[in-house]
């Protein structure tokens, strides 16, 4: 196993073989979710805390299901119920949580770098579930897994990522991982949301949707935040949609076997036409399914494996490959 990270803070700088190791592990875990009884004892007796400082339905549910399918105990803490409203700092909250001996903390936070701050204070593994405009590594990994399943590879593909690139942690994580794995990444959006310095990160930039998606293997649409409208990144949502909404006409410019991804939640008719979101090339629901597998894989790699290597509780480790051949649990 090539995976060596202690935390998952981001995908920038994570080498190709480690990303591939995560994807391979996730692929092997997918089968568990297809069983009648969707549970393996891999993380039995482990505690996973979901610490969410931002609203999230999909990602938090996905992490929670992933942990539960591995038999971990999960605790969800959301900003509204946490002590932040009493003025406690993030570092203090983290120290308190660690004193309760969790085995992993999944963090979503509106400030870029919040997970780095936690990783400096804590010894237990931190999984970044989205930090500000920085990274959202599990989203990118599930995107990669979905692309690999449908197109058989990542290297050599052309991936167009369309929308609010400036503020998108999904775009950043995908850009790093796709570049590492040998894909060409085109970033597409209005110049206000597409700073030229992105070229230094290895992306091609396009301000016209047609140019961006032409001959693309993959089109990944980003969710447009409604509050950007007031900040003059574009005049109105309506005008934005006229230029960057992915329609069937635009999709026809891409390769015939193109697949369409979207991290959700969808703004139908704004960044993506319903006909496209629901069309045959849309793999949006596969992304959601793969999200659980990717998060199971990461919890396994960061929690079970590291503990097993410490030889503390070898019985807690159940190799997914053995599970598969061993029949229903």
């Amino acid at each position: 196993m090539a995976f060596t990270q202690r935390h998952l803070l981001g995908l920038e700088g994570v080498p190709a073989d480690e990303i591939t190791a995560i994807l391979d592990t996730a692929a092997s875990f997918k089968e568990i979710s297809e069983r009648d009884i969707k549970k393996v004892p891999t993380l039995r007796g482990k505690t996973v805390i979901n610490l969410f400082y931002e609203a999230s339905t999909r990602t938090r549910t996905s992490f929670e299901i992933a942990a539960k399918r591995l038999s971990a105990d999960t605790i969800n803490i959301s900003a509204s119920t946490s002590s932040t409203c009493k003025g406690e700092t993030l570092a203090d909250t983290a120290r308190n949580l660690e004193a309760m001996r969790p085995d992993a903390i999944v963090v979503r936070h509106p400030s870029s770098g919040a997970c780095h701050l936690l990783a400096r204070h804590l010894t237990c593994p931190i999984l970044n579930a989205g930090d500000g405009c920085h990274e959202h590594p599990t989203q990118a990994l599930l995107d990669l897994l979905t692309i690999r399943e449908h197109l058989g590879r990542l290297s050599g593909l052309t991936v167009a990522i369309v929308g609010d690139v400036l503020h998108s942690r999904v775009a950043r994580s995908n850009l790093h991982a796709l570049r590492t794995l040998g894909a060409t990444v085109r970033l597409v959006g209005p110049p206000t949301l597409l700073p030229p310095d992105l070229r230094a990160l290895g992306a091609e930039l396009h301000t016209r949707l047609d140019d961006g998606v032409r001959e693309a293997d993959v089109i990944m649409m980003l969710r447009i935040q409604r509050e950007r409208q007031g900040a003059n990144f574009f005049p109105t949502l309506d005008e934005y949609a006229q230029y960057f909404c992915l329609t069937e006409d635009a999709v026809r410019l891409a390769k015939p076997q193109v697949i369409i991804l979207h991290p959700g939640p969808l703004n139908r008719g704004l960044e993506i036409a319903s006909a496209v979101a629901d069309g045959p090339y849309s793999v949006i629901m596969d992304q959601v399914t793969n999200g659980v597998a990717v998060r199971m894989a990461l919890l396994y790699l960061l929690v079970a494996r590291s503990k097993a290597e410490d030889a503390l509780e070898p019985e807690a480790l159940v190799e997914p490959s053995r599970r598969r051949t061993g029949g229903r649990a």
Partner: protein, 438 residues
Amino acid sequence: MSPARTIVAGGTVVDPVAGRAAPGDVVIEDGRFVGVTRAGEASAAGATVIDARGLLVLPGLVDMHVHLREPGFEYKETIATGTQAAIAGGFTSVACMANTEPPNDSAAVTQYILDRARLAGRARVYPIGALSLGLRGERLAEIGEMHRAGIVAVSDDGRSVMDAALMRRALEYTRMFGIPVIAHEQDEHLAAGGAMHEGVTALRLGLRGIPAAAEEVMVARDVALVRLTGGRLHIAHVSSARTVALLREAKAAGLPVTAEVTPHHLFLTEEAVADYGTHAKMAPPLRTQADVDALRAALADGTLDAIATDHAPHHHDEKEVEFDQAANGVVGLETALPLVLRLASEGVADLPTLVARMTCGPARILGLPVGTLAPGAAADLTLVDPERRWQVEARHFRSKGRNTPFEGWEMAGRVQAVLVDGRILHDERPQAAALRSA
């Protein structure tokens, strides 16, 4: 009764006014300079001799931009701890910014600061008054009353004066007192929400950037206002290469514009933030290597008149938070001098030129009678061992602030002794330690 006489003997005397560094003896009587003689020529009869062999002898350094935090933020720094840090770093004079609580926008606060400084009895403190009442950028503060109480400049430092008409009036009105307006140049709309330099690193980290243009548009505006008013403008903590170009143009046109640069902007780039290190977060932000190169060239050719630390102590808790929530600013008093010596050894400029930027340069801007070895001037001296190596450890700072981006740096050059009015206020000389332990 004959006057008390001290001779600082055997050192290399750096005279920034004359632009010279040569062996010599500095003669002091009754706390004032008498003159500099050739080495060994000063009569030692009846004098206290301070052995300065192997040391650089500099006029006491002047830092025209520090935040002493008192009144109001004594948990970050006090006038006593800040001036102690100044002395330990070789600074015998500091000018303190007005963004205290209450702000220094009245003669009463100015007087309070001066009283506290006298009580502390360390470095000389020259208060800078607020430009606007409450630093709100709306109405002029009572600059005349503060001037009577002792301010040496006005500034809303920490905030930009976004109202061009207010800036115009400040530049006009201060002409009556001959004091400069010190401008913190950052367009607040362009900088809104920004946490670091707008560039590749900010993009990677997902942090909102502050473009260099936020500084440049304000400098261009204020140079135009100087042309309109004839007022004296001093640009604080220049960070961008284009600002340097604007300054060069203004100076070539003979406009009364001066500027300062911080040690951190001369040594660090945006990459210092790469791991979300909040000790590299400050306003203006660290920029690119091209900016660092331009600032160094401008320091050498005199486009930048002064090196100022923008010493900005913060409590640990204000830095140990999410990057976008962290306080802006770094401490600088206790690391500036060895960094400037490093500039000399890197060949950025010769030693007398660099010392001038920390002595007579800022003193001239603020009209202070310090930063010189001229006969009759107060005998403020900084003695440095340029060879002595040490490692920066913030926990040893005299300042309450530990927020340095230079933690762990290997420095060459350590302050050995500091004299104010001819009296030794700080002594790290090996023989002093030996005396103490005896």
